[in-house]
């Protein structure tokens, strides 16, 4: 068996794959945070709760309406996005003129509310959610074993990340969004409906978290606390990467996922805190983050 650094290759690639999968979720979520923050200047603490909401919506669609994985993958993000739009229209909107910390505090309250509600109704234990039949097998080669579904998650998230990047950098609506990020008043003066753009951006960011939730449902279990544990790691990712750049958020997400996976191989005790240690080091060496500009 091939050995690298004293580790059998399959162990190494296996953990690398797990790291890549976690990294996919980190990338999707920190991307959504960056998009929302870029325009709204709100740090969406509820991002983890929307991720959980996506997973739960998929589970409920299956449980109560008999809708399968693919249907849920389409519907759940729409529902989550709609919830996001309602939240933005009715409440979040009022906080734009205040200190950014109020947005953080508001979304923190929202996260607590959602998490508590689902915990009250569905209990703290996880709900199983199975991958579609066609994706249940594994692909085996000499040096790596890839469950098909997990491989698909990595590819799907990569496509979503790059798609979002292209949407923002290459399309007309993306250009409006970037312009509004620079100077919202001026863009509004040109006749662009900026309040609508804000709502759509928040809804879009939440929907991205929702998709991540549906994708995550078969990998992890569907549980009310799945989001709150993740959001703190995402914050660390965002501090490392800086929220200034879309590609930066994506790259940092994958990178930290992989580093975390490798830590599991070489020093498992530190796997939980690897990302936080990296964050501390980055803060010491490059306080603004790897791709950051300070706001």
């Amino acid at each position: 068996m091939t050995m690298i650094l004293g580790m059998p290759l399959p162990v190494l690639t296996g953990q690398l794959l797990i790291g890549l999968i976690n990294g996919s979720f980190y990338a999707l979520l920190s991307l959504g945070l960056a998009v929302i923050f870029g325009l709204l200047r709100v740090v969406n603490f509820a991002h983890g709760a929307f991720y959980m909401l996506g997973a739960f919506t998929a589970w409920m669609l299956g449980q109560y309406l008999g809708i399968g994985f693919w249907g849920a993958l389409l519907l759940a993000p729409l529902i989550v996005g709609l919830v996001g739009a309602v939240v933005e229209r009715t409440m979040l909107r009022r906080l734009y003129d205040l200190d950014h910390l109020y947005g953080l505090l508001f979304t923190f309250g929202l996260a607590l509310l959602l998490e508590g509600l689902f915990q009250h109704v569905y209990g703290a234990s996880g709900k199983p959610f199975s991958a579609p039949e066609a994706m249940k097998g594994v692909v085996r080669t000499d040096f790596v074993t890839v469950p098909i579904y997990r491989g698909w998650v990595v590819i799907a998230s990569l496509v979503l990340c790059l798609g979002t990047w292209a949407l923002i950098e290459k399309t007309k609506i993306g250009a409006y969004l970037r312009a509004a990020t620079e100077d919202a008043t001026l863009v509004q003066a040109f006749g662009v409906n900026v309040p609508l753009l804000l709502t759509l951006t928040y809804a879009f960011g939440c929907a991205l978290a929702g998709i991540a939730g549906v994708l995550a449902a078969p990998v992890f279990q569907v549980s009310p606390t799945m989001g709150s544990n993740l959001i703190i790691i995402i914050f660390a990712v965002v501090v490392v990467g800086g929220m200034g750049s879309i590609l930066g958020a994506i790259a940092t997400g994958y990178l930290l996922g992989i580093v975390e996976g490798l830590t599991k191989v070489f020093y498992p005790e530190a796997a939980n805190i690897a990302i936080f240690i990296i964050m501390a080091v980055v803060l010491m060496l490059r306080p603004a983050g790897l791709f950051g500009k300070e706001y």
Binding site: V43, M91, R94, L95, L98, D99, H100, L101, Y102, L104, L105, F106, F108, G109, L110, A111, L112, L113, L114, E115, G116, L117, Q119, H120, S228, I232, I233, F235, A236, V238, V239, E269, N272, I273, F276, I277, M279, A280, L283, M284, P287, E294, Y295
Partner: protein
């Protein structure tokens, strides 16, 4: 800028109004007599959390820094105090000192990293670092993981006064509480506190006046961590256990809510807020109503409708309460 309360000068603040003095003395008198009517353990719990919220407010209200990681200091000190009482079997006053010392040390480390960023990044950094500390507590052998540290006696204060009796403990906790609040009041109204508030109001200007802003922030952070640690140590002494709940991020959220609900940037605000939140939790615990949901909803209502908090709104609405 998060909420601007009253402005004052050093000269202003050094002078305490006679009416204020009478009020404070009356409140201390009430505090001494209260255990005659109210269950002392509940009162002590209230004081622990009121102190925790006041410590947090020292940082947020006067330094303008929102820490999302204060549970690390509160829970960390609780662990150290519990460990000192149980394993080292030292006197409670030394156990508390050790706990506070640990919180100060932890505050220094986290603070050094956190003050390198501002605003929302500061909040995220403190949250992430305290989560790292949570994972440390989850895995370190001395915390006993999910079980926590429990089953130790409170010991004898200075080797003489037995704290097993809850009335005796009450007066000890009350003394620590009043002394700490006085210390916080002094810090806020000292030249240090004034500069801290200047930094909160206009950091650039404070820098151009020659103040080393980072050091003032760090100083406030460490002091706040120390008082939060004292609150945690007292809580460990009171309930005779220390668990993961105290270091969890939910606890950091709760202390933010207490301060926000009561009123940021006043001495009375956090005390009122802590009282309300603890009472609310006690009521909800038996009602079967989801506590987290109610806390979340309270958060949302606070942020949307009354950002000044209860004490702040009262001061704002009742002109007689405003400082002359």
């Amino acid at each position: 800028m998060i909420v601007a309360e009253d402005y004052e000068t050093v000269a202003d603040s050094r002078r305490s109004h006679p009416a204020q003095r009478v009020l404070v003395l009356a409140l201390i008198g009430v505090l001494l007599l209260l255990p005659l009517w109210v269950y002392p353990v509940l009162l002590m719990k209230l004081m622990c959390f009121a102190l925790f919220a006041s410590a947090f407010n020292l940082l947020l209200g006067y330094g303008g820094l929102l820490s999302f990681g204060h549970a690390a200091f509160f829970g960390g000190a609780a662990y150290v105090t519990a460990h000192a009482l149980k394993v080292w079997e030292i006197n409670p006053e030394f156990a508390i000192l050790t706990g506070v010392g640990a919180a100060l040390g932890l505050g220094l480390v986290i603070g050094l990293l956190a003050v390198r960023r501002q605003g929302i990044y500061f909040a995220m950094v403190t949250l992430a670092l305290s989560q790292m500390f949570y994972f440390f507590c989850l895995q370190a052998p001395f915390t006993h993981g999910e079980d926590g540290i429990q089953g130790f006696s409170r010991g004898k204060l200075f080797g003489i006064v037995d704290l097993a009796d809850s009335t005796t403990l009450y007066y000890f906790v009350a003394a620590m509480f009043v002394a700490s609040l006085f210390a916080i009041w002094r810090i806020v109204h000292s030249p240090f506190g004034m500069i801290l508030q200047a930094v909160r109001e206009n950091e650039q200007r404070a820098i151009s006046l020659g103040y080393s802003v980072q050091r003032y922030k760090l100083g406030a952070f460490v002091m706040s961590a120390g008082f939060a640690g004292l609150a945690g140590s007292l809580k460990a002494l009171l309930f005779q256990f220390a668990t993961l709940t105290d270091v969890n991020w939910h606890m950091s959220g709760e202390v933010i809510l207490m301060t926000l609900l009561g009123g940021i940037g006043s001495i009375a605000g956090p005390i009122v807020g802590a009282g309300l939140v603890v009472t609310l939790q006690n009521h909800l615990a038996t009602s079967g109503f989801p506590v987290t949901t109610v806390l979340g909803a309270t958060f949302i209502v606070c942020v949307l409708l009354f950002r000044r908090g209860i004490v702040g709104e009262l001061r704002h609405r009742l002109p007689a309460w405003r400082r002359k």
